[in-house]
Amino acid sequence: MEKIYVTGFGIITSLGNGTADTLESLHRRKSGIGQLRWLESMHSHLPCAEIPFNTDELRRMAGVPKEQMTTRTSLMGIIALGEALEMAGIRTRNSLKPVLISGTTVGGMENTEKYFLKMLTPDKTYDDYILSHDCGVCTQMIADHYGGFDMLSTLSTACSSAANALIMGADMIRTERTSIAVVGGSECLSKFHLNGFNTLKILDKDPCRPFDDTRAGLNLGEGAAYLVLESEASVKARGVKPLCLVAGYGNACDAYHQTASSPEGDGAVLSMTKALKEAGLKPGDIDYVNAHGTGTPNNDESEGKALMRVFGANSVPPVSSTKSYTGHTTSAAGSVESVISILAMLNDFLPVNLNYRNPMEMLSFRPVTDEKPPRPIRHVMTNSFGFGGNDTTCIFSKF
């Protein structure tokens, strides 16, 4: 099978703007989870991981004029995409004609929830915001900021959206529809989904403790991350140095329940197994797993058991959840955690699982507490699981 390279990536989360800030926070074990600063909600006692810039600051950083209609999700996407394109040395308005595949679920909901009641009155002031509501518009806003994208698409598989965007983009390269696919996702916090997750009673009132026996839920975060995927021929033609390989990926459906994972993690086992098979790797080849690890009692038990089934109870590789740093960036989590996994591989360190103290009885492994890897990192796996059992696993490798 033809090789697919990663030639650039960009990220913005509560850890800051760009890969340098992200890397530094991971090394210094500094979490971005804290008090709400920007989103207005009566649930301000719930810790969240907001990006440390308000929407006006994001506008300035993205270079989007004040009068232009936009969404916070789009601005974050523009900023992360800009870093990815720059790292890959791509100017989209030349003849390269890349495609952009993006994942989001919130889309323009942060505007809709502010203005919908006003739109229903005869007042026309806020009506145009309805045109920024749906998910696809966010992708258009992000793409059109740079221009030159030949094709766009948008995925929404809840918390695995960005991971499935990676699959779509990689498959477009594999079927020779494009030689460069920019893939990822963007999602800002909204009152809508903060309240939604709150009704499910899966938000922890304290910073989340993935894979800890006392874990009591997740913290929502916001973020955007994009990766530039490129065919071998394009890498050679452009004369660029690739960063790593997309070795394989797998998508499966748990087909169990709308918001809960099956007790033994059947869907997760399937997505990890498919990804390993496509990568042509054995479980023992994986050097680090960036878990979905939301910190809910249900996810971490189900995913933990799935890891034991895939790797063998006594040979689970180092596992951590970096949601203890970024919060759960929902639709963007797949690309945010892909970038973090690649950073770990390229810099040969294991992101420590924060807030872990008490082992989970039913699991044979403990999450990473020491940054030093037991052996050089060559292959990393990252899991993204969404509501509805939309489970996706991606594997990246050194070449």
Partner: protein, 297 residues
């Protein structure tokens, strides 16, 4: 490579789950009409049915109809295109939050508000653990799902796929879009179409899909280039492809309503009411464009 449409089923402003529209289309003289509901009792028990929004009932019913027609009970992939997702339940949760505050909200409407609720409900209903995805890209949401399915076949990962286009429209959302002139005098409708695709023709194939192409902001030249490259590769010259008039005026405007054009072309090709090579072109607000190449089986 060709993918066979083994079966298709629709629920719309025309009579549901049949081809009555072909000879006797119902015409409407209203700005917005919701779909004619089918008899959901066949596939859903009353308790389950009550808990589901309209879009979910329609999706499960059209999906089960193509499952029964083909006997493919466990498709290797379930892929859905929906521009706006489960709008009705989204609005319920949103309005409760805006009007009654953040204190006493119920989880059910949030759980059923995410776009992938549709594909995952179908998966749970059919107990399908295979590939599952949802596309939400404006007026080419359905074509995005179709393109993904086509690529999974091309890459040899699947032998069958249940692909659907689903959208619902609610009075408030219709009203606000109407205020900004979105409908341009066309009737707003809803979409529910399911297709069973396979790498084999089955007993009664409707038509073949030979290529799916999406383009963003293309020039006329870019579209022609894509068409010529494809017709050359398929070995059928450009002039042998014809584009039938769109059936969107019969079914109403909706984000994923291009699914009706694919459905109608397949029905007509099966009955030899169209030439053997059909090229469907969809253009959403002069930005997102899709090309679908279909041939007679």
């Amino acid at each position: 490579m060709a993918v066979y449409i083994q079966a298709a089923a629709q629920i719309s402003v025309q009579n549901p789950l049949c081809d009555d529209w072909l000879e006797n289309p119902i015409s409407y003289d209203v700005p917005f009409h919701r779909s004619i509901e089918a008899d959901y009792k066949r596939f859903l028990d009353p308790v389950t049915s009550r808990r589901m929004g309209k879009i979910l009932k329609r999706a499960i019913t059209t999906s089960m109809t193509v499952v029964e027609a083909t006997g493919i009970r466990e498709p290797d992939a379930i892929i859905v295109g929906t521009g706006l997702g489960c709008l009705e339940t989204t609005e319920k949760f949103l309005m409760a939050m805006l009007e009654e505050g953040e204190e006493f909200l119920q989880p059910t409407n949030f759980i059923n508000s995410t776009h992938n609720t549709i594909s995952s409900h179908i998966a749970v209903h059919l107990k399908c653990t295979g590939y599952n995805s949802t596309y939400v890209h404006l007026g080419v949401s359905f074509e995005s799902a179709l393109l993904d399915a086509f690529m999974q076949f091309q890459l040899g990962r699947i032998k069958s796929a249940l692909v659907g286009g689903f959208d619902e429209m609610i009075p408030n959302y219709f009203h606000v879009l109407d205020k900004v002139g979105f409908w341009k005098g066309k009737m707003a409708g809803e979409t529910a179409v399911s297709f069973m695709l396979a790498d084999t023709p089955g007993k009664n194939p409707m038509a073949c899909i030979n290529e799916v192409i999406l383009l963003h902001d293309p020039t006329k030249e870019r579209i022609e280039k894509a068409i010529n490259e494809t017709t050359n590769r398929l070995g059928i010259s450009r002039e042998d492809w014809s584009t039938p008039p769109s059936v969107k005026p019969i079914f109403g405007e909706s984000f994923s309503n291009h699914a009706y054009d694919v459905y109608a072309a397949a029905v007509k090709m099966q009955h030899s009411l169209l030439p053997d090579n059909v090229l469907l072109v969809n253009n959403y607000m002069d930005s997102e464009t899709s090309l679908i190449f279909m041939t007679k089986c």
